[in-house]
Each structure stands twice: as C-alpha cells, then as structure tokens.
Symmetry: C2
Subunit: 259 residues, 2 copies
C-alpha cells in the first residue's frame, strides 16, 4: 500500500519546477529501470510489482524498495499501461560546462518534443558523443517522456543548458567549427567533416533560429533523392540527427570524446 503523501510527491515530479526544487525525477518501465540499475545514477526509492521484484532481486541490493500492486502503480505512473516498476532518482551531480577543443558536441536549438530529445540522446550515445548542449528553451531532459524515449541514454550523456548564441560565440573564438543544417548548406556527403566542434540541430517547425544562425560557420545539408515535386519539405529533427551523426562518425575514424 502506497501512502497518499508518496503518491502526491511522485505526481508532483511531473512538474519541472518541482523537480528542480527536489532535485529528483521519475524513471518508469522495466527496460529503462534496467538501464538505470546498470548506470551510476543514485536511486532514492523503487516501487515495483511483486513479479518484478521476484525477477530482479539480485540487481537492487542496498536500494530502498517497496512492493505495490497494479492499482497503486496506475496511480503513480504517467504511462498509458502501468509499468512493472517505477523509480525515484536523484539528479546527476551538476558539472561545470566548458567547451573542450578536441571534443565533438551535439547541440539542440529549441527542440521542444520530448520524444525527439530522448531519441537524439540515444543517437548521440550510440555514436559516442557524450555531451549534448541544449538551448535554455529546449524541453527538460528529466521530463519523463525524454527519459523514456532515450531508453537509458539520458543516464550516460551529459546535457548542458545554456544561452546558445553566447556559447557558440565562444566556440568560434576558440576557432572551432560550428556546423548546422540548412537548406542552402553544403552536401554533407562530400563536405570535409571534423572530429571536433559543435553540430547544431534546429527546432521541429522552424529549424535553426535566426538568432543562432550568425554563429554557424559550416552550413551543411542532407541531399534528397526525390525531385522537388515529390520530396518532403524537410526531415524530422531526430532523423536529421541520426544521419548527421552517422556521417560524422563514418568520416572521422577517431573517437569524438577522447580528450
């Protein structure tokens, strides 16, 4: 039986404001919690069904765990189907962000959709990009839909929110390449790509914002194989992220994040 206060507390963490006060967020579902347990994140408490506890007994030694029934799980979960397990997790320790000249960063300009943000974290993680820069108006990466879509990559990729123009200005002053996708950019397949610098991807509806554009010194473009009459207007931002990261990875044999 879960207490009314616990239900209230967990549900309150759906709000970014409350999360930032408590410095806690929620991780739901067997797959994402499995990733959580093999990460270095600090877990405050796990709520789980009997079946999950039975199958995972070895994995959560030393963690405060409470068995609840499906009815209670439904009350605290935001998922359509109540998951087997839900965890209250402490925020990562805050690190100070400083651009390292030899690293490659992915950077999101006003990406609002949690599914896109989470998918992009997973893509960055796949290709060994371990730091993501996000403009202050991007969706919060502790949002439960971001956590879900990232399939655990949120635990492994560091995300820094910042004022994008001033951060990119600093990168240019350090002589780093700042890439961005534009319709009038150069063909990504033939352009020489770097193994360091920053790759900026834009907002779902508007692309890279006008106030960000002046700080991009390498405009790139993913060519289409359809003619203008039959081609889609654009690609989804997470699709573009996948193609761009793949292309940087393919053309730069050294690892992006070895410093």
């Amino acid at each position: 039986m879960i207490s009314g206060n616990s239900i209230k507390h967990i549900k309150s963490l759906g709000s970014k404001k409350k999360r930032n006060i408590e410095r806690e967020f929620i991780v739901e579902g067997a797959k994402t919690v499995a990733e959580l347990l093999r990460s270095e994140m600090k877990i405050k408490k796990i709520y789980a069904l009997k079946s999950w506890i039975h199958n995972n007994a070895k994995k959560f030694q030393g963690i405060d765990i409470q068995e609840i029934d499906e009815n209670d799980m439904q009350k605290i979960s935001v998922m359509q189907t109540a998951p087997e397990v839900l965890a209250e997790v402490f925020y990562k320790e805050e690190k100070k962000f400083q651009i390292e000249p030899d690293k490659l960063y992915l950077c999101l300009d006003s990406v609002q959709d949690p599914g896109n943000f989470g998918t992009i974290l997973r893509i960055a993680n796949w290709f060994g990009i371990n730091t993501l820069i996000a403009s202050n108006d991007c969706v919060d990466f502790y949002n439960s839909k971001v956590v879900q879509a990232s399939m655990g990559s949120v635990f492994r990729v560091d995300v820094f929110y910042c004022d994008l123009p001033s951060t990119l200005k600093k990168a240019l002053e350090m002589q780093l390449p700042v890439y961005g996708t534009f319709l009038n950019g150069k063909n990504i397949y033939t352009e020489k790509l770097s193994s360091n610098g920053i790759i900026v991807l834009g907002n779902e509806g508007h692309g890279i914002l006008p106030e960000t554009e002046p700080f991009i010194n390498k405009k790139i473009f993913i060519p289409t194989g359809s003619d203008a009459r039959t081609a889609p207007e654009s690609l989804n931002v997470s699709t573009a992220a996948a193609i761009v990261c793949s292309e940087f990875f393919r053309s730069c044999p050294k690892k992006f994040c070895q410093v």
Copy 2:
C-alpha cells in the same frame, strides 16, 4: 453544424476494419492537408474552420467542403488539440505488386508503432525510395497516426503488405540482394551497397523475426562509437532506417527508383 451521422461515420474510420470496407481514411491538420492538396489523392470531403477556409480558398476548387466550428472539430478529431482542418480521403487505387529488379525497396518486418512507420515513410520519400514493402502484421498505413507522422509522404510512397518470407524468397530467386540489420552483420560503412534489392528493417522489440532471417543474404550493422559498457543496446527502428537509407543513397549515386 455537423450531423450526428457524419460524426459517427468519421469516428468509425478510426477502425482499420471499417476503413477497409469504406475504402476511406482521415487526414488531419493544416500541414498534412496541405500535402494532401498537392498530391494526387482523391478527396471525398473537407471539414474546416472558417479561418482555414479563408486562407486556403484557392487550393480546394471543386472539392466538397463544409465549414464547422471548433466544438464540432473537437468531436471528429483524434488529435489532442483540434486541428483547423480534417479531410475524408479515398484509398489509393490498388496496384499489383511485382518486384522490379532494378529498384531499391525498403521493407518493414512487423513494425507496430504508427510513429515509426510514418517516420520511415518520410525517410524513404526523402531518399527517393518510392515503394515500401510491409509484412502483413505491420501497422496499417492508413492509420491516422501513421498519416500524421509521415507528414504527407504516405501520399507519395506506395505501400504493399505481403507475406514477407515468400516475397523475399522470390527476390532471392531473382538473384537480388536482400539486406537486413543484425548485431553480427558487416559494417555498413565499408560494405559495398547495391542500388537495387531490398532492405529489411525489424520490429521495435525483437528486430528481424526468425522466420524472416533465412531470406536475408546480406547482413549489415551500424557500428557504435561507444564501448560496450556505455553504448545503448540498440537504435530505434526509424533511426536505423534513416542511417541505412542515407548510407545507401550516399554510396549509390544513381537514383533508386529509375527503372
């Protein structure tokens, strides 16, 4: 004012069974309807708010259109926020599917998520792949979430549902390469890729199914830049589709669908 019968009819098209009887489906939202209007699809009727009609008067000459208010739009829409416009559209004319030896096909094995299916249609369309093969248990491409996620590409890419093993068997008999993504496949960046044949992508949770695997003669893999301890277990199927299509497109300069 919309009639009760019309509301009932439109809502019934949320069911695949009913869609197949009526041979009609629903397209919602200003962006997707704009794509609909520039496509060759046959529209049965448009329901729209006054503002949309005012702004689009030139685009729908000869189409049966009814002005409704937001309240009525909310009743017939499945979107969270009622759209400005909703269209009842006739199914495409059915074509007979036959593998053409010089074309490149994308093929989905048991892809269930409408968002993934729609995103993959948009990716195929971007790279000039105009035919998608889907196993019979994939989500229906007239599902409104597929239509939405495809951003209109559903109007431009042909989808054929079929029994996958027997279709792929036929491709092998025609000496065509049948690609599929597997963890033990060959590096997609260094493997020679063909400009014809079939690329199979697997189910969200299980990848390519065991009954499909014997018919794949070119196993490929997207390498990861993270080490085993920190890499995600897999990529989302639409992310994989983006990378694989991009790589085929980059390495095969000729268009995939010129026959």
